[in-house]
Symmetry: C2
Subunit: 593 residues, 2 copies
């Protein structure tokens, strides 16, 4: 049998931009034809972009998907293409369409609908209940969608038991730190378990808070990675696969026959659709993009950490780039306090958008240190960015004085601190309004967790770049960037100074909060891992009162987070749509010895 | 047979306040015993309050529910009680527990899990698949939960076919305008269809954006309402029901026998649990709280409208009251512009919290009319509220001048308008910080829809009272309040002046927007009814370009709404958690003739 050339077009669609997505798909189909690809897979819902959320409740939006599919159809002459789209029959399904030689030959509906974390697919879709098998000449193909491949049982297993040699999985699987590696391992295991070739086509790109990392894969029946797409960029990958090899291995070591019989009596029904194989002249030399075996991958701990930091850094850069560009902005503006968070945000923004598109603003107030200005200057010089200067002291003093007439004799408190922060927010928003800049906020996950931030002040802006990055990780990313860039860009004085909001005299973050190393342990355990007070106290050997206090702070600051700008998600549990806590709630988590 | 005395304790729980909710439940059980009630039903998830959202993902939170249940158990001596709670076995269920004479005798799990609109129950719960039937002596009882009763088929039907004479439905069904009436009609129909007594126990109270209206009902097998609880307040209702009547009617007119046979072969299994009837001395005279037949209810159109306005007004009042109190605030503060929206918000706040707990602030700016001050004064006098005065003109002028140094020669635009609004937001937040007041925002749904509002300006605050009230309804509610209160409180000058933000010279809302009567038609059709451009243009005979422009405005302002404070929900589709649109999306809805 001649080898089958399989490809994945790992594209970056825009939600609701049907024309753009369609043109992108057609362009990659043409590239596929140039490379003599037989079978080309695109990501889940690539016609409309993922996740479209409640746009799926609009009939016209669903109709647009079908129109797009029809427009693509004539371009699929002499190639087999898999694209994803929502389809409407009596109910709505999340479907993969198989286009073969200019015809729509079949659909496969998603079986497992994720409805946890950031996913709400039960809100829109019915679960598919019929497995289709596509016979192309002598070989057999099964389609599946994202979550379907994360389950060892279900339709994919059924298709393989029924003889499919190739399983396509079209996905829109968002990134979090460590996920690409674990996903590749899972896919290799799945291929090996089922002695099948797996073609994994994942979306890439930023979409609001979510960052899709791509990393599409073609894996053989031994779990060996034949071709692997980059993380965080659009790419076409392809390679030749040996279908006879699959058949040979299954003859030698059959999939469980007992299971075959049991499965056949189940409700899921295998539909078989026969297709004429494409007529092709003899193929040019076989191609393998990359070859990596998951079991062999052994790295030393240091390089593992570096790899993880690199992934997070690139994810944030892509997230900023796509949010800015897809929302029609060209430039961003942010406040530069001379602190660590705004420094890292600036560097990420420059890496995402270019120095000419990033404007920093130094807004010294009555308690700003000299370093707050000089460090911002040094950083801006290193990065080649414009630095504006707009002191807020006079404005603040004037308003503080007139407000004091309303409350004579009252003590200075967070009111006056917030007021300074709000003057800065107001200044950035004025620049945004006047010049059309997007304001980036610079707060980190630790601050957002405990409410160490000012609503309408430092929380004012369109995108919170570090909202899912705990403070300790902010430092690691800064060091990573300094070490791996052409030269260090973040001044050591910024990295070494003790964190301070500089909103009153001699203020340090540690006046109100424990050391960040400690705080972040509690935040990660409580927010990301759902540990309770007992578990945190016992595991880290901490003082129960401290843990209770931090958890209480996390809980009572939901009202701030509910008005926070979108934050880029890089952990399995970011604040935002993946974590839904009522504002009004009195649940108190206390230590019970 | 002696009559059965059935009651509903329509309580207002606090999410996560296990002690408060438990004490409240025990207090009503004691009242129930005093009134010789045999069977007393509480709302869905009353032990923890509804909706607890992701608190349900905490094991300790689930455990607290079981502890609460155990604490209530001893109080149920000599009475039968139904309470709602989440229960954890292998999976989590939304359950009703039957407590009988001091023992936990059974559970019933919710079958239909709502996962649309503001509901995400598939995120947490598995669907119950077993119908339980409780035999108490000679009579039979079935339990169900909220959504279960909205479906004519399913377990409730099964229970009735299997002989249940009483169906308890414990609910947490949030209000929207017109819902109480439609719900009562549905429940009457359901009772009549199944020839069963229905006991409907609904939660009451505000919980973040949701307002639960209560309006619990006891309905006989002819669909006649025997007892009806008030809307929007805690209440105990009870009445005596005639179980022999149910049996008699079913003998004369049996439920469909063919369906009985078909149903029995289905997967749902009816479990039967036998209980000893409670020992009671002869009962005091029978009680009927109210008696209203749904078919007889005929009202003239004017009084229907008045009733609807009264319900909305009371819903908003309860929503404000509960958000303020449950979040530990005592007083609220709001900006009084002399306009309609802030006037209505003030009046609602006073009706909810008392005049002594509401502070208005007049913040005249460079473009404020004289009326903006005098009308705010007249209103505050009428309502007996404190009015603070804090002019923003000097602060604005100073900042406008120094900002202009950054952009010499640039024209005045929305930057300067927003700046005025943000000085006001900053002032209110300073008062909030200094005195612990909650800031109420005053924007209406029409403004929020098209983005005619300033982020961190008039959108700054903790609760948006009118966020789901279109401008035209704001006027109707104001007139309703003026007509039905002891005396008119909102000055005619406020009602009669053309709406204006007063952020530049001679500004009127109609400079940027169509008349509100027209705008609201489009907003309601598009946002609440999901009509497309064609349907709106054709139905209202509007200019396609205008409709396209308004819909485009609605779509591009998602970024503002994503940072808006919680708004009280009074329609089926409010902005907020019930409407989930991506910020990054290019879908454009155009007229296609």
């Amino acid at each position: 049998m001649r080898p089958l050339r399989i490809g994945v077009a790992q594209i970056n669609p825009v939600v609701g931009d049907f024309r753009f997505n369609r043109d992108r798909i057609i362009e990659y189909i043409h590239q596929g034809l140039t490379h003599e690809i037989d079978l080309l897979a695109f990501p889940e819902m690539c016609l409309c972009g993922y996740p479209p959320k409640d746009l799926l409740l609009k009939k016209s939006f669903l109709d647009e998907n079908m129109k797009s599919l029809e427009a693509i159809l004539p371009e699929t002459k002499n190639i087999t293409v898999v694209v994803g789209l929502p389809t409407r029959r009596n109910e709505i399904y999340n479907s993969a369409a198989l286009l073969h030689d200019g015809l729509l030959v079949g659909m496969q509906d998603k079986e497992y609908l994720p409805n946890y974390g950031v996913f709400d697919e039960n809100r829109y879709f019915q679960s598919g209940s019929k497995a289709n098998m596509f016979h192309v000449g002598t070989w057999r193909l099964g389609l599946s969608i994202c979550e379907d491949i994360w389950h060892p049982e279900g339709m994919i297993r059924l298709m393989c038991l029924a003889g499919a040699e190739v399983i396509i999985n079209i996905s829109a699987s968002p990134f979090h730190a460590g996920k690409p590696h674990r996903r590749a391992d899972m896919l290799s295991t799945r291929a090996l378990d089922n002695r099948t070739i797996i073609v994994y086509a994942n979306q890439v790109g930023g979409q609001d808070d979510l960052i899709f990392d791509g990393n599409s894969l073609i894996i053989d029946q031994d779990g060996k990675i034949l071709a692997e797409a980059d993380l965080f960029s659009e790419q076409l990958i392809f390679c030749d696969v040996d279908l006879d090899g699959v058949v040979r291995e299954r003859l030698q070591e059959p999939l469980n026959r007992q299971e075959t019989l049991r499965r056949e009596s189940e409700l899921l029904e295998v539909q078989t659709i026969n297709l004429e194989p494409l007529q092709r002249k003899k193929k040019s030399k076989p191609v393998l993009n990359t070859s990596r075996h998951f079991e062999l991958e052994q790295q030393d701990p240091h390089s593992q950490v570096q790899k993880s930091l690199a992934e997070i850094y690139r994810a944030l850069t892509l997230g900023v780039h796509d949010y800015v560009k897809k929302n029609g902005f060209r430039k961003v503006v942010l406040g530069l306090s001379g602190g660590m968070d705004s420094a890292l945000t600036l560097v990420i923004a420059v890496d995402a958008l270019g120095a000419e598109n990033v404007v920093g603003v130094s807004m010294p107030g009555p308690f700003s240190s000299r370093g707050s200005i000089t460090d911002a200057q040094a950083l801006s010089r290193n990065m080649g960015t414009t630095l504006l200067r707009y002191p807020i002291t006079k404005h603040f003093n004037h308003m503080e004085k007139t407000l004091r007439l309303i409350w004579p004799g009252k003590e200075w408190d967070t009111t006056e601190e917030n007021l300074q922060s709000r003057f800065r927010g107001m200044t950035l928003m004025a620049l945004s309004n006047k010049f059309g800049y997007l304001v980036l906020t610079t707060g980190n996950k630790s601050e957002l967790a405990v409410g160490y931030a000012t609503l309408y002040g430092d929380m004012a802006g369109g995108l919170a770049v570090l909202a899912d990055v705990p403070k300790t990780l902010v430092y690691k990313l800064a060091q990573f960037r300094n070490q791996t860039g052409p030269k260090p860009v973040i001044p050591r004085t910024i990295i070494n100074k003790p964190p301070s909001a500089e909103l009153k005299a001699n203020q340090k973050d540690t006046d109100s909060l424990p050391e960040y190393a400690l705080l972040d342990q509690i935040i990660v355990a409580y927010v990301e891992e759902d540990w309770n007070v007992q578990e945190i106290v016992n595991y880290y050997n901490l003082e129960p009162g401290l843990v209770e206090r931090i958890i209480h702070l996390i809980n009572v600051n939901e009202f701030k987070r509910c008005q926070a700008p979108l934050g880029l998600r890089i952990t399995p549990r970011a604040f935002g749509s993946g974590r839904r806590i009522p504002i009004t709630q009195h649940y108190r988590e206390l230590f019970e010895p």
